[in-house]
Symmetry: C2
Subunit: 403 residues, 2 copies
Amino acid sequence: MRDFLPADKARRERVLSVIRETFLVHGFDEIETPVMEDSSRLHAGLGGDNEKLAFGVLKRGLTPEDLAVARDPLELADLGLRFDLTVPLARFYATHRTALPSVFRSIQIAPVWRAERPQKGRFRQFVQCDIDIIGEAGPLAEIELITATSAALDALGLRGCTIRVNDRRILICLLNFWQVPAELHERALISIDKLDKIGADGVAAELAALGIDTEGLADALATSGWNLMADAPPWLDRDAYQSLIDLRTAVPGAELVFDPTLVRGMGYYTGTIFEVAHPELGYSLGGGGRYDGMIGRFLGTDVPATGFSLGFERIVDLVELADKEEADAVALVHDRKADPATLVALKTQLIAQGKRVRLEPRTKNTKTLLDQLLASGFSHFAFVNDATTASELELRPLAETRG
Amino acid sequence: MRDFLPADKARRERVLSVIRETFLVHGFDEIETPVMEDSSRLHAGLGGDNEKLAFGVLKRGLTPEDLAVARDPLELADLGLRFDLTVPLARFYATHRTALPSVFRSIQIAPVWRAERPQKGRFRQFVQCDIDIIGEAGPLAEIELITATSAALDALGLRGCTIRVNDRRILICLLNFWQVPAELHERALISIDKLDKIGADGVAAELAALGIDTEGLADALATSGWNLMADAPPWLDRDAYQSLIDLRTAVPGAELVFDPTLVRGMGYYTGTIFEVAHPELGYSLGGGGRYDGMIGRFLGTDVPATGFSLGFERIVDLVELADKEEADAVALVHDRKADPATLVALKTQLIAQGKRVRLEPRTKNTKTLLDQLLASGFSHFAFVNDATTASELELRPLAETRG
């Protein structure tokens, strides 16, 4: 978990603002849920491995006797910090469905928490930017999600991103062709998910170790592209593949790459799955897919749903936003002993003129101070004292003085 | 803890944005800290009664043996959710001091958590808007905080607010005059804090029950105003009172009311204390004061500090912001069977023209649907189908159609 100092915080807020505005323009609506959910909901089997990483929140008013009889720490936690924004969204939709449009497009831009061991690039508190469409069973959902996400990446200046797409049905068809028993599907998918690390032969070897005859599997896993329909490989779910071709046609603004080995970890996906790849990075910037069965777990009746989640922490490090214009940011450098009322009166007059103003006590090393002010985004400064009046205030450009 | 639906969420974001922008213009810088702090820090005696309301976060990897030997639930929690933004700020400043300006003006706009029993108007997760000035020992800090807070209230259109001010030194002087022993000061202040509820005579009676001779106390507690210097009541700390008079002179933009019975609950205040009163409300909208000793608890050396916290949840209910202009929000009402690619192409063209666009499936009751779209902030709509082209798209104003 990290602190954010002013420059970092300002940068994060600006990137979030670009993402939020893009999603709003694309017809999505922002919502918010509490950071804590009922523990039973966080451990309902919908969060995959992330459930194990949920921070538990102690029940209030526990007595020593409660502790003595508890066998499992989970018995002492009735709440937990959310580990993703999908489980809370499903609960939110089930609660508020009647107050929402028949097709509900949500934006959630918010922190989540996972009790990971500290390591480079992994944080225990991090922000996700999720958009979801609930109530749309057709491909319109996938098209809108990918279009809005691509627009957000464009607005941030992240060029060259591609969207890897696959369909859970293609994966299942592939596993069935190699006669992987249903009870081994999850283990097989975990192996396929490691393709980047261990290669197609490595995956085939892992499946062979499970007793599966994998002849030809490595070739299939190396297959990709949009021309498979003519070859019609027998492991390919042709309907699902055609729907991906249609999807590609409908989103000309994004480059879609078919990857039959894309797995996405979460077991709740039922159809299309996708992931954002950046040409210079070995990891994805986000991903998502269709999860038609999940809302039904909370609601009782099935509702189609599709979502796309951007990993904000990865994105914010890549984005090079043009420095925000702070043409009107003024530092009034004053003696520590100057009359406070005079200083604040000067400040108030400049604010009334539309400027951002900071009172800055003078330090021994004026040059260092002015350098710091310039680095902090201030454009002008003036030395002021008790006798300074607004009319004689001479604002000097920091950039020139600094040289 | 509450969910926020789109209309509420949009309203909250707009109010937060006005507050944030005002504070930024006044020279403050926004920072962010993690929602969890070390449990030992949350229970270090700086949070007053709020410490008891901190949600504890279970240690990870606890074994049944850990549970069996624990005597106190706190032994099982190494982290907790922050109950205010002041304790995290003190920790933040102690950690990052060398990277911050010599006078650091922070903005924190963020949720805090308290395990209150659910009741009307009390939430377990709520947002606070804090500004603090660290490193300024003189009255400039109080002047800037009150000026910026008043400007934020003005920008939100909250007219008629007053700032009740007092000084901890005046309270201590008053208690000493009535010869309240030091060990009873806290209990006495708790009584004085109940003045609103039990009246000056009630407070005097409570102190009398502690064995204190309270003759004349009720009259003193009923005293207020800016003309006490001439009378020079013997219980008045004249230096502290003069500093309040000077403060009043320096912030002409806000109406300051001297109230010698203003206590503010937190024991860490050392000088000026203040509270925002609204003419129509029986509760304050925020408050703060000088807490010069607190940062030193984390840093080892004392650093002067003053802060002002606005209670966002109370404010957001009062604010009547003019409805945001959504002149360019368009709903494309379509048949469920319409071709998705055509719909998204239309949507994309309108977005390129600067509009916000939502695809809305047609429902049986068109009138209700259009009413809902108008209520959701959409200004225009069009019925579209597979054959619609952008050139023939006729956008109709929702307000006229609805009548």
